[in-house]
């Protein structure tokens, strides 16, 4: 099995699906000749031509809306938002249209679109190139939101998203793109959307998180293990709708839960995770449900001092895990 980067797993999944199914195509800003500003679609234009790797005009509502139209016809569009921050002009198309098409037509129509976008901070991207935007969409039945942490998960989940008969938002952590590498089979495989994944088994504390923070937690868990503290780590992978059973099981297992997100604290995905636990396994808890998250400020500033202040990092994670273990 080859070790490849997170972003190469994105490209690999798209390429394989385009080879497999002629209905799959890519559209977005700079995805064609340039291969994407992050190079996620590199080589696809050369391989599949400009008909299937479409450089669109600079208009996100049309990227989503045209993609939705093609999906209504029966195509499998993969629309790229250049940065997750720039998905906002497309919110009406995503929430009012994609999410509701099957339901509102009583199952007559459906909308198998994938909307990919790089999110997350720590890249000197400042306010508008660093955001986590999943919470905007995580209250919209009809949508699925996938946020993988490893190259292996990226490939399996992106393929599953492309084959899914409903709309999927697929958010990729831009700092993970080249930072995170891992083993990825060359074979065709899919992973189930809607299922969380235990990334490490443990007995003393439970950490529930997703995306880049999974790696911070795994690193911290190694350090804690040296001190005899055993951490159980659940990677949500799909942040909407959540895998309730897995969350309840993971929380009940140790009775001490730390929830980590890079998003602002108030109103994040982790609010719902906490609510699920508080509703279903309150009496199995030995400590208040802790959250480690970004502060409640618009998004991370450009200046390195303030950016660092905002970002969750391995040190902050380790500290929060130790505090919980000592509770």
């Amino acid at each position: 099995m080859a070790v490849i980067s997170y972003i190469d797993a994105v490209t690999m999944a798209i390429r394989e699906e385009m080879e497999r199914d002629s209905k799959v195509f890519v559209l977005g800003e700079d995805v064609g000749r340039k291969g994407g500003v992050f190079k996620a679609t590199q080589g696809l234009y050369e391989q599949f031509g400009e008909q299937r790797v479409i450089d669109t005009p600079l208009a996100e509502s049309a990227i989503a809306g045209v993609g939705i139209g093609a999906a209504l016809y029966g195509m499998r569009p993969i629309a790229e938002m250049q940065f997750a921050d720039f998905i906002m002009p497309a919110v009406n198309q995503i929430i009012s249209e994609a999410a509701r098409i099957r339901y509102r037509s009583n199952n007559d129509w459906n909308c198998p679109i994938v909307i990919r976008a790089p999110y997350g901070g720590g890249v000197h991207g400042a306010l508008y190139h660093s955001q986590s935007v999943e919470a905007v969409f995580a209250n919209q039945p009809g949508l699925k939101i996938v946020m993988p942490s490893t190259p292996y998960d990226v490939k399996g989940l992106l393929k599953a998203a492309i084959r899914d008969d409903d709309p999927v938002l697929f958010f990729e952590h831009k700092r993970a793109y080249r930072l995170i590498k891992g083993e990825v089979p060359n074979d065709d495989y899919v992973l189930p959307i809607g299922k969380a994944d235990v990334k490490r088994k443990g007995e003393d504390i439970t950490v529930i998180t997703y995306g880049l923070c999974v790696h911070f937690a795994l690193q911290a868990a190694e350090k804690l293990a040296a001190d005899g503290i055993s951490a159980h780590i659940l990677d949500l992978r799909t942040v909407y709708p959540l895998d309730k059973e897995a969350i309840i099981e993971a929380a009940a297992k140790t009775g001490k839960v730390l929830l980590i997100t890079e998003d602002n604290k108030e109103g994040s995905i982790m609010s719902e995770v906490s609510a699920i636990i508080a509703e279903h396994c309150l009496f199995e808890l030995d400590a208040p449900i802790q959250r480690l998250a970004g502060p409640d400020i618009p998004a991370m500033p450009y200046a390195p001092t303030m950016e660092k202040f905002f970002m969750v990092n391995p040190e902050k994670v380790e500290q929060a895990m130790r505090e919980l273990a000592e509770f």
């Binding site: 049309a62 045209v66 139209g69 509102r104």
Partner: protein
């Protein structure tokens, strides 16, 4: 006898009688819905009245076996032409489970029926415009000969989605027909407070496509414009913007009272151009319809409306828990 204008368009007498009948059916369904609303039997109506000529004239110019239509809420004439029935529409008005558009989930006017390529619509205006572009793109990718036809009001032509969709279609030379049904009002807001251009079709040049404005009360003029646009589209020459000018003969919807924002005179004046009347007169002047045939058509249409109403009124609602179905594909 008046000049025969339809033969020159390649339409025979039978076809234009069919057009008239469809317009009339649209009108009578709409009128019935108002009665049902005023007697408390259905909660809501939104009307096609005054726009039937544009809707039916346009739809007849399309290929009903392969083209896709993305109608807006007033397009009773479009969906009837594309195969929806009076019964289907009444089932929707009564929110009954058999409603093909939504199973009673959406308000009336939110059309959709896959088998007839009537694409599911929502309430936020103008979102259907990029969808029409996407379907045309898909058709092109798949080597199909299809055209997509999308409509919207003149107020709605101010939404960003109109601009973004039209430009996308222009750049990719896609076979999309954008038809703006200009009825002079967006609820209470008159056109001069909506748009600053003289004609909605003035916007076409900004998307590198032809733009025309036609009399929306004349189904033949609309037919001609849409036919040309469809032909252009099929020839690979790209999209067209068509504006049909008519007037909304009813209040915006059953929740609106239009007397607060427009003068009765203005409405009365518009009614003299009612396309049902003027097209009926054309058929008579052209010697295609006489009083007897007119009555027969009227009776036939009323029968259809009556039967549809009765069926729909007695049809069942979806059971409460059915609300949980079809959020996602069933596994």
């Amino acid at each position: 006898m008046a000049e025969n204008r339809h033969s020159a368009l390649g339409l025979n007498d039978e076809q234009i009688l069919e057009m008239y009948k469809t317009m009339l059916l649209a009108r009578r369904i709409d009128e019935r819905m108002w009665l049902l609303n005023r007697s408390g039997k259905i909660p809501f109506v939104i009307s096609c009245q005054g726009q039937e000529a544009a809707q039916v004239g346009a739809s007849f110019a399309l290929n009903r076996e392969q083209d896709y239509v993305l109608p807006y809420y007033r397009d009773v004439g479009v969906v009837l032409t594309f195969g929806m029935t009076a019964k289907d529409l009444m089932l929707s008005a009564f929110a009954k489970s058999e409603d093909p558009s939504s199973g009673g989930r959406q308000m009336p006017g939110h059309f959709g029926q896959k088998k007839n390529r009537i694409v599911t619509g929502s309430s936020p205006v103008t979102t259907q415009v990029p969808h029409a572009v996407g379907i045309a793109l898909a058709g092109k990718m798949e080597g199909k000969d299809l055209v997509t036809f999308v409509t919207f009001g003149e107020g709605s032509s101010n939404q960003g989605d109109f601009h973004e969709g039209a430009n996308f279609a222009g750049v990719h030379k896609l076979p999309v027909i954008f038809m703006c049904e200009n009825n002079k009002y967006a609820i209470s807001v008159p056109i001069e407070k909506q748009l600053s251009c003289e004609r909605v079709s003035d916007r076409a040049i900004g998307y590198g496509m032809p733009g025309v404005t036609v009399d929306g009360n004349d189904p033949l003029e609309v037919y001609k414009a849409v036919k040309e646009a469809a032909d252009r589209g099929r020839r690979g020459e790209g999209p067209t913007l068509i504006e049909t000018v008519s007037y909304r003969l009813t209040p915006h919807s059953s929740d609106d009272d239009d007397r607060s924002y427009r003068a009765p005179d203005e409405v009365a004046e518009a009614k003299t151009k009612d396309p049902i009347i003027t097209f009926g007169a054309y058929l008579k002047e052209a010697g295609i319809m006489d009083d007897k045939l007119e009555k027969e058509i009227n009776d036939e249409v009323m029968n259809i409306v009556n039967e549809a109403t009765e069926y729909a009124e007695n049809a069942p609602y979806a059971p409460p828990e059915y609300a949980m179905k079809h959020v996602y594909a069933e596994q």
